[in-house]
C-alpha cells in the first residue's frame, strides 16, 4: 500500500480490522505516502468514503476483515455497481457468533456475489504480489471493477514470513498514473452518480457490469504476465501441484494449500499419484480452465474454509460441482469443511482426506458428500451419496 501510494484510504482502523491500517497510518504520519487517510467511525462509513473518493476521481484503497467486511456489505454492491476500481485488502477472518478473531473464509465468501473480483493468496509473498496486481486489474479500462485481495487471518497476516519486495519505483511505474473516468471534481464536465435507474435501464447496467467481470478473465492473466516481467514471479488463475498424472486431488484455497503441498510431497515420495489444485482467482471463476484441470482426475475433495449451511456443501465445492456438471468426464467429488474460526489443519488430517479419496477411486463409492472434519462430536456427515 505504501508503494502504491493511493490518493485516498478510508478505513475503520481498530478490531476487527488488522494492523494493516495501523501500519499504513504510520506511513501517512511519517510522510512516506501522500495519501489522504480517513479514519471513519464504522466500516460502512469507510466503504462509503471510499466510494465518494473514487467518484471524486481518486485512486482508493482500504483494508478490513470479518465483521468489518460484513458491515460494509451494502456499500460493496454499490462500489461494484458504480464501477469504482477500489482495492481492498481482506484479511480473512471468521464471522460471529460465537466471537472469534481467527482465520476462515466466511467473510469474503459471503461477499462473493457482490460484484467484486476476488483473489486469494497462499502466503505473504503472494498477498503482496496480488495487491499490486489488483490495482492494475481494477483500473483496466475493460474492467473498472473493485478488487478484493484476500489472505488468511493470522496465518498469513500476523506471522513473519520471508518476502521479496520490489523497489518503490518499479511498483509505482507498474501501477502507473491513475486515470479517473468522469470524476465529480471535474466541474467543467458535471456528472451524476447514484441516480435512480428503474425498469428502463437497470438491467442494461447490470449486464454491463457482468460483461466487465467476464472481461476481467483475460485481464487478470494479462496483468499477471506483465507482473512476471518485473518480479520474475508468475501467476495463473490457479496453481497446479503435481496434477499432471494425479489420480486423486485436493482443491483448497490460500494458506492451507501450502500445508497440503507438504503432504503431497511426502505421499509422492511413496509413489502415490496425489495432486493439489489451488484456485487463486475465485471471481471471476475460471470454470472452463478449472474443469479441464480436473478432467483426468478420478476423485476430488474440495475443501472449504467456510460453509453455506443448508446447501449441499461449502461455496468452493458448489462452484466446482456446477462447473463440471456438463462435462462428459467428471471426477467423483466430495466436500470437507475445515478450519473454521482458525481451527488448524494438520498433516495427518490431510493424509486422511487423501486416503478417503483413494478408497473412493478404488470402490467408486462415496460415503458422504460433505462433512466437517477435525471437529468434535458424532460423525458429522450430511448428504448421503
Amino acid at each position: 500500500m505504501r508503494q502504491i501510494n493511493p490518493d485516498v484510504c478510508a478505513a475503520y482502523p481498530i478490531t476487527p480490522s488488522t494492523q494493516v491500517m495501523e501500519q499504513f497510518s504510520e506511513y501517512v504520519a511519517d510522510g512516506l505516502v501522500d495519501t489522504e487517510l480517513i479514519a471513519t467511525e464504522s466500516e460502512h462509513s469507510a466503504m462509503s468514503a471510499c466510494i465518494g473518493a473514487a467518484a471524486a476521481g481518486g485512486r482508493v484503497m482500504t483494508a478490513t476483515s470479518s465483521q468489518g467486511l460484513a458491515l460494509m456489505w451494502e456499500m460493496l454492491y454499490i462500489a461494484a455497481g458504480m464501477r469504482f476500481p477500489i482495492t481492498l485488502a481482506c484479511v480473512n477472518r471468521a464471522l460471529s457468533a460465537p466471537i472469534n478473531i481467527h482465520g476462515d473464509h466466511s467473510d469474503s465468501m459471503g461477499a462473493r456475489d457482490s460484484g467484486w473480483i476476488q483473489i486469494y493468496a497462499e502466503n505473504a509473498q503472494e498477498a503482496y504480489d496480488n495487491q499490486i496486481q489488483a490495482v492494475r486489474i481494477a483500473e483496466h479500462m475493460d474492467v473498472r471493477l473493485p478488487v478484493m485481495s484476500c489472505m488468511d487471518g493470522f496465518i498469513t497476516s500476523h506471522a513473519i514470513d520471508s518476502l521479496e519486495l520490489l523497489d518503490d519505483k518499479t511498483v509505482r511505474d507498474f501501477v502507473g498514473e491513475y486515470k479517473a473516468i468522469n470524476p465529480l471534481l471535474d466541474v467543467e464536465h458535471p456528472v451524476t452518480y447514484g441516480a435512480l435507474d428503474l425498469q428502463d435501464y437497470f438491467m442494461e447496467h447490470k449486464r454491463a457490469q457482468a460483461e466487465a467481470m467476464k472481461n476481467s478473465r483475460k485481464i487478470v492473466i494479462d496483468i499477471a504476465k506483465e507482473y512476471k516481467k518485473i518480479s520474475g514471479r508468475g501467476y495463473e488463475y490457479f496453481e497446479e501441484y503435481y496434477m499432471d498424472d494425479a489420480e486423486i486431488a485436493i482443491v483448497i484455497l490460500s494458506s492451507a494449500a501450502g500445508t497440503v503441498k507438504t503432504v503431497v510431497e511426502a505421499m509422492r515420495a511413496k509413489g502415490e499419484k496425489v495432486g493439489l489444485l489451488r484456485p487463486r482467482i475465485f471471481r471471476p471463476f475460471p470454470y472452463n480452465e478449472l474443469s479441464d484441470a480436473l478432467s483426468n482426475v478420478k476423485a476430488v475433495a474440495v475443501m472449504d474454509r467456510a460453509d453455506s449451511t443448508g446447501a449441499e456443501g461449502g461455496p468452493l465445492y458448489m462452484e466446482f460441482k456446477s462447473a463440471l456438471y456438463n462435462r462428459k468426464k467428471q471426477p467423483l467429488m466430495i466436500n470437507k469443511i475445515f478450519g473454521l474460526g482458525g481451527r488448524d489443519l494438520m498433516l495427518p488430517d490431510i493424509e486422511m482426506v487423501y486416503r478417503e479419496l483413494r478408497d473412493i477411486k478404488n470402490s467408486g463409492k462415496i460415503r458422504a458428500l460433505s462433512e466437517y472434519i477435525t471437529v468434535r462430536g458424532e460423525e458429522a456427515a450430511y448428504g448421503k451419496a
Partner: protein, 190 residues
C-alpha cells in the same frame, strides 16, 4: 521433502516472547534461511502463559499448520517449569533452553525428563542486572543463538539493535544488547 528446525517458545504475556520469536526468525532470515514466526494468539493478558513458534529451513517453507513436534523448546518464564508440560510433542533428541536459577540437572529432576538435552540460563537475573526489569526475552535470544547454532550472535545483536532503536532510547537498546551478550556467554549445558 519438508525439513525444518521447529522451535516452540513458552512465556508469559508481557515478557516479550512473541518479539523474541520474531527477532530470532529475522536473524535467521538475514542469515539466508527461510523462516516463519507466529504466535499462538488468544486473549492477551499480562502474565498468562503464551506460546510462539518458529520454523527455520534452508528450503522454501510452504507448510502453514501449527508446530506440534518442536526440536527446540525455549522456556522464557521460570515459573512455567513444573506447571506446564513444555515437553509435549518432543522426542529424545529435543533441546530445551530454560530460563531458571537452577542448573540443567535440577531441571531434569524437577520435570522428570528422560532423553533430550537441557540448557539453562538465569535470564531474569541478567535482565534485572542489565535492563533493570525482569524482561528476559533478549537474554533468551542470546542463549538460543548459542544453543541452536542456527544464527550468528553478531547477527542477533545487529537485529536487536535495529529493532530496538526504532522503539526505544539508545540507553535501553545498549542494555538489551548487553543482556544478549551475557546470556550467550553464560548459558549452561549438561
Amino acid at each position: 521433502m519438508y525439513e525444518a528446525t521447529e522451535i516452540r517458545w513458552h512465556g508469559r504475556g508481557g515478557q516479550g516472547t512473541v518479539t523474541a520469536a520474531k527477532l530470532f526468525a529475522q536473524s535467521a532470515m538475514v542469515g539466508g534461511k527461510y523462516v516463519q514466526a507466529f504466535p499462538e494468539f488468544g486473549p492477551e493478558r499480562t502474565g498468562a502463559p503464551v506460546k510462539a513458534y518458529n520454523r527455520i529451513s534452508s528450503k522454501r517453507l510452504t507448510i502453514h499448520c501449527g508446530v506440534t513436534n518442536p526440536s527446540i523448546v525455549v522456556v522464557v518464564d521460570p515459573t512455567l517449569v513444573g506447571t506446564t508440560d513444555f515437553t509435549e510433542g518432543t522426542d529424545e533428541k529435543a533441546v530445551f533452553l530454560v530460563n531458571t536459577k537452577d542448573d540443567p540437572a535440577a531441571v531434569r529432576k524437577k520435570i522428570k525428563l528422560k532423553g533430550g538435552r537441557i540448557y539453562t540460563i538465569d535470564a531474569t537475573r541478567i535482565s534485572l542486572e542489565t535492563i533493570g526489569k525482569p524482561i528476559p526475552n533478549t537474554a533468551m535470544l542470546g542463549a538460543l543463538a548459542k544453543v541452536s547454532g542456527i544464527v550468528d550472535i553478531k547477527r542477533v545483536l545487529d537485529d536487536v539493535k535495529e529493532d530496538f532503536e526504532k522503539k526505544f532510547p539508545e540507553k535501553i537498546t545498549q542494555k538489551n544488547l548487553e543482556a544478549v551478550k551475557r546470556a550467550y556467554e553464560e548459558v549452561k549445558g549438561e
